[in-house]
Amino acid sequence: MKITRKDFLRLSGLSFLAGGAMEAARAIAGRSSAATESQSTPVAQSVRWGMVVDLRRCQKEKGCTACTDACDAAHNVPRLADPQHQVNWIWTQPYETVFPFIQNGYAEQSDAGIPVPLLCNHCASPPCVHVCPTQATWKRADGIVMMDWHRCIGCRYCMAACPYGSRSFNWVDPRPAIAHINPDFPTRSKGVVEKCNFCEERLANGLKPSCVDACPQKALVFGNLADPNSEPRQLLRQRFAVQREPELGTGPSVYYLV
C-alpha cells in the first residue's frame, strides 16, 4: 500500500487528535473524582471563617474608610482614576442597594444612604467556583474562596456568576496605580480577576484580617462560624442578622447586624 503525503498528513492529524482526546478524557475522569472529594463538605467541619458586620457601630464613624484603606494597603489594591475600572476588595455601597428586601417603604429616611461595607461573601456554595473553567478560583476546607492569579485566564465568567458584585477584573495594569507597594503581598497583572481573600496570609500567622484590626469602632467581627462559642456566633445568637441574597442558596459567610 502506498501512502501519499496527503494520507500521511491526514493520519498524523487524526492520531494527534485521538491522542489529545484520550488525554483529556483521562484528565477529566481523574480530576472530577478528585474534585468531588474536595468539594463535598465534611460532616463535622471544624473551621469555617466568617464575619459579622455591625452596621450600628459602623455608622458611628461618619465617612470612615479605615477598613478599605487598610485592606488596599495590605493587598496592593490599585486606586484607579476610572471608576469603571475600579478594583474593590472591601468597599461600601448605600444601604438600600445592598438590602433591597429590607425596604418597607417607610424606614428609608433613617437608613437611606448608610454606607454598608461589602466584601467577598466566601459562600458555602460559591457560584464563581462552580463556573470557573480552570479552577483558578476554589473553596478551601476552611470556607475561604481563593483565587489563583497565575492560572486565571481572564474570561470573567466568575464575575457574571457572582450575585454580589464582589469580583474585580484588572482592566488595566494595576501596578502604576498602587501608591506604596507592600513587598509582602503579590501585585497582580492586567487581565486577571481578584477579590477579598479574608486575609488568608494573616490567618496563617494567627492574625485577624487587616480590615477587622483597622476598624476604629470594632464593627467587623471575625471568627470561626463552626465554633458555637466564637465571637461571631455569639453575636448571631443575640442580634437579628441578615445575609445578602440568602434566597439564592449561596450561603454567605458574611452577616450584617441591622
Binding site: R31, R151, F169, V193, G249
Partner: protein
C-alpha cells in the same frame, strides 16, 4: 491540501475583494495588539458590564453555526433533494461561524496566553468547558463532512458509507452547541434576566431564522455574481424555515416578556425596562432595541405572505430584517441587558469603543475570507463536474461591509 489550489486561482475582482478584507483584518489585528498591550480597559466594558460585544457576538454566531442543521437535516435525514447544492454552503457557513466564535472568545480573554489552561485543568462542572468541547467537536464534524462529501463529489463517486453516521451525529451536536451556550447564561443565580428555562429554546429559534436568512442572502449573492444557482426550490424551502423559526422566536420573546411583566417582580422588570424604556435616565440601548422590534415586525409581515416571501426583491429585504433584528436582540441586548442593572442596582452605560469595533470587524473579515475561499472551492468543484469554469464568488459577509 483539501482543494485549496482552487482558491488561489481567481479573477482580479476576487483578489481585490480578498485584499480589502485583508486590510480590515490587519486593522483589527493592530487594535488587538493595542488591546493586548494595554489590557481590556481599551474596550467599553467595565466592572458592572463585564462582558460586551465580544461575548454577545460569540453568542450570536454560535447560532449561525448551529443553523446549518436546518439544511443538513432535511437533506440527509429526509433525502430532500432540493437542498443538494445548498447543504455544503450551509456546512461551510457553520465552520466559518464556529471559527469566528472561537476568535470572539479568544479576544475577550484577559490572559489569552493562558487559554490552554481550559484543557490543562479540565473542569467538567464549568459550562465553559462543555462549550469548548461542543464547539470544537462541531468544528471537527463539519470539517470532516465537508471534506469527505466534497471530495466524493469531485471524484464523482458516492461518499463513503461511514460518513453517514458522522452526519447524523452532527445534527444533535448542532443543537447541543447552542443549548450549552444558553446554559452558560441561564444557570447563573444572580442574573435574573438570564435565569430562564426558555433561554436555550429561544436561542435555537433565533439561530434557525438568522442563520438560514444569512444563507439565503449568500445564495442570492452567489446567483448574481457567479451564476451558481442553488435552485429556487431550495431558496423557497429555506425561506419557509426562516418564517417558522422567526415566528417561534418572536413567540418565545413575548412569552418571556409576559412572565416578567405580569409577575412584576422588580428585579426582573428592571432589565426589560432598561432595554426598552430606559432606566435611571439611561436610554442608550432603547432605540436599538426598538429597531430590533421594528425589524422583527417588518420581517414577519414580509415573510408570512407566501407571494412576498417568494419575491426576489422582497425576500432579501426580509432576510436582512431577520438578521439584523436578531443581531441586535442577541448580539447586543441580551448580554448587555443581563448586566444592567447590576446586582447592586447600578446602571452602567456600555458603549463599544473604536478598538472594540475594529477587532469585531476584523473577525468579521476573517469570516468573510473563509466564506469566500470555501464557497470558491465548493463552486469550483461544482463547476468541474457541471458546466465550464466558474467565476468569482464575490461574497460580501453580513454586517462587516455595511
Amino acid at each position: 491540501m483539501f482543494m485549496f489550489e482552487k482558491a488561489i486561482r481567481g479573477s482580479r475582482q476576487y483578489w481585490i475583494w480578498l485584499f480589502c478584507l485583508l486590510c480590515v483584518i490587519l486593522a483589527g489585528l493592530a487594535f488587538y495588539l493595542y488591546q493586548l498591550n494595554l489590557g481590556l480597559g481599551v474596550t467599553g466594558m467595565s466592572r458592572n458590564v463585564s462582558w460586551g460585544m465580544y461575548i454577545a457576538q460569540f453568542t450570536f454566531f454560535v447560532g449561525v453555526a448551529a443553523s446549518a442543521v436546518m439544511v443538513v437535516l432535511p437533506y440527509y435525514l429526509h433525502d430532500y433533494k432540493a437542498f443538494g447544492r445548498v447543504t455544503v454552503l450551509g456546512e461551510f457557513l457553520a465552520i466559518t461561524a464556529v471559527v469566528m466564535c472561537c476568535l470572539f472568545i479568544f479576544v475577550d480573554l484577559g490572559q489569552p496566553a493562558r487559554v490552554f489552561n481550559i484543557i490543562l485543568y479540565p473542569t467538567p462542572w464549568s459550562l465553559m468547558f462543555w462549550d469548548m468541547i461542543s464547539l470544537s467537536g462541531y468544528l471537527l464534524l463539519n470539517a470532516m463532512i465537508t471534506v469527505v462529501t466534497l471530495t466524493a463529489e469531485r471524484e464523482e463517486v458516492a461518499p463513503p458509507r461511514w460518513i453517514r453516521p458522522v452526519i447524523v451525529l452532527s445534527i444533535p451536536w448542532a443543537v447541543s452547541i447552542h443549548t450549552v451556550t444558553a446554559f452558560l447564561y441561564s444557570g447563573l443565580p444572580g442574573r435574573s434576566s438570564w435565569l430562564t428555562a426558555i433561554m436555550a429554546p429561544r436561542f435555537l429559534a433565533g439561530a434557525f431564522c438568522s442563520g438560514p436568512a444569512l444563507l439565503i442572502l449568500f445564495c442570492l449573492i452567489l446567483r448574481r455574481t457567479t451564476g451558481f444557482d442553488v435552485g429556487q426550490k431550495a431558496i423557497n424551502a429555506l425561506s419557509v424555515i426562516v418564517t417558522y423559526a422567526m415566528v417561534i422566536n418572536v413567540f418565545f420573546i413575548l412569552v418571556e416578556a409576559f412572565t416578567v411583566l405580569y409577575s412584576r417582580i422588580p428585579a426582573d422588570v428592571a432589565h426589560l425596562q432598561y432595554l426598552y424604556l430606559g432606566l435611571d435616565g439611561n436610554y442608550h440601548l432603547v432605540p436599538w432595541m426598538w429597531l430590533s422590534v421594528l425589524l422583527a415586525a417588518v420581517a414577519l409581515a414580509l415573510l408570512l405572505v407566501p407571494s412576498w416571501r417568494r419575491n426576489p426583491v422582497i425576500l432579501p429585504i426580509a432576510c436582512l430584517a431577520v438578521f439584523f433584528s436578531l443581531w441586535l436582540d442577541k448580539g447586543l441586548g441580551l448580554i448587555v441587558g443581563g448586566f444592567v442593572p447590576s446586582p447592586l442596582d447600578t446602571v452602567t452605560t456600555y458603549t463599544p469603543t473604536l478598538p472594540e469595533w475594529s477587532i469585531v470587524l476584523g473577525i468579521y473579515a476573517i469570516g468573510a475570507v473563509m466564506i469566500t475561499v470555501f464557497y470558491k472551492i465548493a463552486l469550483a468543484v461544482h463547476g468541474e463536474i457541471g458546466e465550464a469554469d466558474v467565476h468569482v464568488p464575490a461574497v460580501p459577509a453580513g454586517p462587516a461591509d455595511r
